[in-house]
């Protein structure tokens, strides 16, 4: 079912990208990429993080200028000097990170860049919003401020913005990353409806399931090159192989857990974010030594804040955190670290790593002031360097010199530095958030293995992940979070559809019933 890339017979109607090449310095982000989109079809562009999907679309949208190749619309070559030119040619984009001004109203965002007169006529703008939102059945309140809207509604505004421009071709750049399963379903319906209206749609994603659900055609991109095209019926395994370039097995060879005594006990934990919203709501759970508890959930349901509260980055409003025999509810990160907590932050670049520090310095970031790295107020540079050399070899950190700057490392190697730092000391608890996000496949296997090894040493492991694959591969138990609350704690063998429904807030029992009903329906159809 997989066929190699071939020059299709040229049809004049539609959008053609021909041999697009885009370089950043010596790095080739797009290497002679061809892509066609016809009106009335959904063309999926599939690829791993960093495969070059977004670069390609930014070229198409006029944000980047290609170093080679051409763009044709209905057979006519076009050049887009800026997004305005692309928009004028009928190309619209729904950005992964919404291009909405948060403190503006919906109507202000909609007219931005296409205001009819020198003086803004808000009444007319609101009327336009209402009209569009009715026509496409995408309800929004024109007066609402973007920052007050849920993510799904913000995305609606983003879609309407593209439609307001009379876009004939719509690019959806990783639109599902921030959505709940229901919101994803709604989005799928919207996309299908737009297709049926005759719009050409490019749907960028790395989630295989979504591709199979909606694509009319599939193109797979790997390391900047097109590696193949596939039919919608292609199996997930085949797509995955195409995407990552070799047969992948995400499962980790691990022995069944042998949980010991409870090491981390969280009781009635409530946490607010900086704006005062309750984001972790009266949560209680335990993690025993020698087990991995995974926190699963759609991004933004309180997992990040839970992890931050555990280490002490954000204060706890109420509730208790006990690690072994220490009470850490009011602890600072320093105290939590001293109590034996290892912490792999969700946003490595932001919270876990200092790019302008050397690799050796990054490897002692939370211990630089203790022996043997420091004494008498002075750093022991030799000890810091020796430690780094040892950890480089042990954790296979690919760098010629540990005195190089942290920013010289790839994402996977930077993550190895963070993990090496945390695992190179005696831990009671390891809290790891999204430990493999933005990390290449080879490194993922290694990181997973080290986490399991740590578990087998008797450490309690709390893993926060939004990737179901990772949860299934590593978890001994799975805690599903939704809107700051625990939906349920289940085994790692829970079927995916049940887990998915729980991530949308449906309780375990109900989810099992619904899933069983769906399975029966599917059986009837077949």
């Amino acid at each position: 079912m997989i066929r190699p890339v071939a020059n299709e017979a040229q049809r004049s109607v539609g959008l053609d990208l021909r041999s697009i090449t885009k370089r950043f310095g010596s790095f080739v982000a797009n290497d002679a990429v061809d892509l066609t989109v016809r009106p009335g079809e959904i063309h999926c562009l599939l690829g791993e993080n960093g495969a070059g999907k977004s670069t390609l679309m930014n070229v198409l949208y006029g944000l980047y200028q290609p170093d080679g190749g051409e763009i044709l619309i209905d057979g006519v070559p076009r050049r887009f000097a800026d997004p305005k030119a692309a928009m004028a040619a009928g190309i619209g984009m729904v950005h992964q990170h919404f291009m909405l001004v948060e403190v503006f109203s919906v109507a202000e965002n909609m007219i931005l860049g296409r205001e009819p007169g020198l003086v803004v006529d808000m009444k007319a703008a609101k009327a336009t919003v209402r009209q569009l939102s009715q026509r496409y059945n995408l309800p929004v309140d024109p007066d609402a401020l973007i920052e007050d809207l849920p993510v799904g509604v913000q995305q609606r505004v983003e879609i309407l913005k593209a439609l307001a421009n009379d876009a004939q071709y719509l690019i959806f750049d990783e639109p599902t990353a921030v959505l709940t399963p229901q919101e994803i379903d709604e989005l799928m319906v919207v996309m299908q409806k737009l297709r049926d209206e005759g719009k050409g749609i490019v749907f960028i994603t790395h989630k295989l399931r979504e591709v199979r659900a909606i694509a009319d055609r599939i193109t797979v991109l790997r390391r900047g090159k097109i590696v193949g095209q596939a039919e919608p019926g292609t199996s997930e395994t085949e797509l995955a192989q195409l995407m990552v370039g070799r047969a992948v097995d995400l499962s980790v060879a691990k022995q069944p857990a042998e949980p010991g005594a409870v090491r981390l006990a969280v009781d009635g934990l409530t946490v607010t974010n900086s704006a005062g919203a309750v984001v972790v709501d009266d949560i209680s759970f335990d993690v025993a030594g020698g087990e991995i508890l995974c926190i699963a959930g759609v991004q933004g349901n309180g997992q990040s804040e839970l992890a931050d509260a555990l280490i002490g980055n954000i204060p706890v409003l109420s509730g208790r955190i006990r690690l072994d025999d220490r009470d850490l509810a009011d602890a600072s990160p320093r105290q939590s670290i001293a109590a034996g907590m290892g912490f792999v932050p969700e946003d490595r670049q932001h919270d876990g790593f200092i790019g302008t520090f050397t690799i050796a310095e990054n490897l002692v970031l939370n211990r630089f002031d203790t022996a043997p790295f420091a004494g008498g107020g002075s750093l022991n540079l030799k000890a810091i360097n020796d430690n780094a050399v040892t950890l480089r070899d042990e954790f296979d950190i690919r760098t010629p010199d540990v005195q190089n700057l942290g920013s010289s490392l790839s994402g996977g190697n930077a993550q190895k530095v963070v993990l090496a730092r945390e695992l190179s000391r005696e831990l009671a608890l390891l809290v790891a958030s999204q430990p493999t996000r933005g990390v290449d496949v080879g490194a993922i296997e290694f990181l997973h293995k080290r986490i399991v090894d740590e578990r087998d040493k008797g450490t309690a492991v709390l893993l926060v992940s939004t990737e179901l694959e990772e949860v299934e591969a590593l978890a001994d138990r799975v805690l599903v979070m939704y809107r700051g609350k625990i939906v349920g704690i289940v085994g790692p063998d829970t079927p995916r559809d049940v887990m998915g429904m729980m991530m949308a807030g449906v309780g375990y029992d109900e989810a099992v019933q619904v899933a069983a009903g769906d399975a029966a329906d599917a059986g009837k159809d077949a």
Partner: protein, 437 residues
């Protein structure tokens, strides 16, 4: 420092339906702002309490000056009791903040009460038992006058920073404009030529800021400081080399006379305060309205605010971020030029080295405390004008406080305000961040 020993609020969400959004409690920032406000107000209240012991006699406040046609009565207040009441009011308001029991509009009311109590208490203490009454009309007219350059400076800051370019160089723009106005005014003997030269100089310095900030991506705060030095150096050098030796020809600019607006100027009390001012003062008031209208009612304003908040979003809808920022910084330069003109042709007529003495920085503080909103920032500029004017009025009353301390008041007020009284403010999201694709 804030203490974390307060009893935590436990949210009662158990019976709320699941569909509800996350319950919003007081945010940490708001809490910290509330507590620091409370502590500050209490400290000020305690200070007033101390002053109470050195208050004796009757405080008199003259509502009109001696030459006014319509003489308004002079108000007499018993010194010690008024100071005591003001101190107590402050303490109560502060306690209210600290307790966290104030809801809805109450914090605003308490803040207002505290503010009025501080000013009234302080003035009463200063005026009590003195030979001369405190001239209220002078104080207010002087406030408007003194605030004029601050208003222009604040507008300059607001317009530039709303587009995402931090402007620490208002001081330097003032200085250059003041110099240009004095020089041009002296040569041409024309107020208007001087004003145009000042605006030109302000825009020129703005162009320098824009060039280095927008094109060469220099850190904007560093840049502002360096531009200030440059302005100080260039005006100082030209003054030393060119102007000083020929000060009769080159440093004797005409000054603006107050213009009385017919009828309105004759109103008792309000007349002299608002309607017997120079053209620059009227221009400042008009400018506030114009900037508000530009920012919130026009296409250009929408775009300026958009590039200051989310430049990439603006870029993706075809707005040239750099062009809009250039425009905003240059337009802002006009206001800094007008503000700079105040220091020479708007008041004394002669230039002296570094004569703007930090007004540009106080304008910057007004921008921040005014939350980057033209009207609020102008109000803050008026507040600073009030403090500066009060300091100079009190000097004439022979208060027991050395004049140097009174002159520190505006700077102290700024620190207090920045450190918490106004609370945490939210800058335009992309303020100070250079835009590159």
């Amino acid at each position: 420092m804030s203490t974390a020993t307060e009893e935590p609020h436990v949210p009662s969400l158990t019976d709320a339906p699941e569909e509800l959004h996350f319950e919003v409690l007081e945010s940490r920032d708001a809490r910290r702002a509330r507590l620091s406000s409370g502590v500050l107000i209490v400290v000020v209240g305690l200070l007033l309490g101390v002053l109470f012991f050195s208050t004796s006699g009757v405080a008199r406040f003259a509502l009109s000056d001696a030459f006014a046609e319509v003489q308004l009565p002079t108000i007499e207040l018993p010194g010690a009791p008024v100071v005591a009441i003001c101190a107590v009011l402050c303490l109560l308001a502060g306690a209210g903040f600290i307790s966290g029991r104030l809801r809805n509009r109450m914090p605003m009311v308490a803040g207002l009460v505290a503010g009025i109590a501080v000013v009234l208490g302080f003035l009463t203490w200063a005026a009590a038992g003195r030979d001369l009454p405190f001239p209220v009309a002078n104080q207010l007219a002087g406030t408007v006058f003194t605030a004029t350059p601050l208003i222009f400076g604040a507008l300059c800051g607001v317009v530039g920073e709303r587009s995402g370019v931090v402007n620490v160089a208002i001081e330097g723009q003032f200085l250059t404009a003041a110099f240009a106005a004095a020089l041009t005014g002296s040569i041409t003997k024309s107020i208007w030529a001087a004003l145009i030269a000042a605006v030109f100089a302000g825009v020129l310095m703005a162009a320098l800021l824009a060039l280095f900030a927008i094109k060469y991506l220099v850190d904007q705060v560093v840049l502002g400081v360096v531009i200030n030095l440059l302005a100080s150096g260039i005006t100082g050098f030209l003054f030393d080399q060119l102007v000083q030796p020929n000060s009769r020809a080159l440093n004797s600019a005409p000054t603006m006379d107050p213009i009385s607006i017919p009828f309105l100027a004759d109103l008792p009390f309000v007349g002299p305060v608002l309607f017997q001012q120079t053209i620059l003062v009227y221009l400042a008031i008009v400018a506030v309205v114009v900037v508000w209208w530009l920012l919130y009612r026009t296409r250009w304003g929408l775009r300026v605010r958009a590039v200051g908040e989310h430049p990439k979003a603006a870029d993706t809808v075809g707005i040239s971020v750099k062009r809009v920022r250039w425009q905003a910084v240059l337009v802002a330069g006009i206001f800094s030029g007008l503000g700079g003109a105040f220091f020479t042709v708007g008041s004394v007529g002669v230039f002296s080295k570094d004569l703007t003495v930090g007004n540009g920085f106080i304008a910057l503080a007004a921008v921040i405390m005014g939350r980057w909103h033209p009207v609020l920032a102008a109000s803050m500029a008026l507040f600073f004008g009030f403090v500066v004017q009060m300091a100079s009025q009190l000097q004439t009353l022979n208060t027991p406080v050395p004049s140097q301390f009174l002159l520190m008041l505006p700077y102290l007020a700024t620190i207090i305000a920045v450190a918490g009284l106004i609370g945490r403010t939210r800058a335009p999201a992309a303020d100070g961040v250079a835009y590159t694709k």
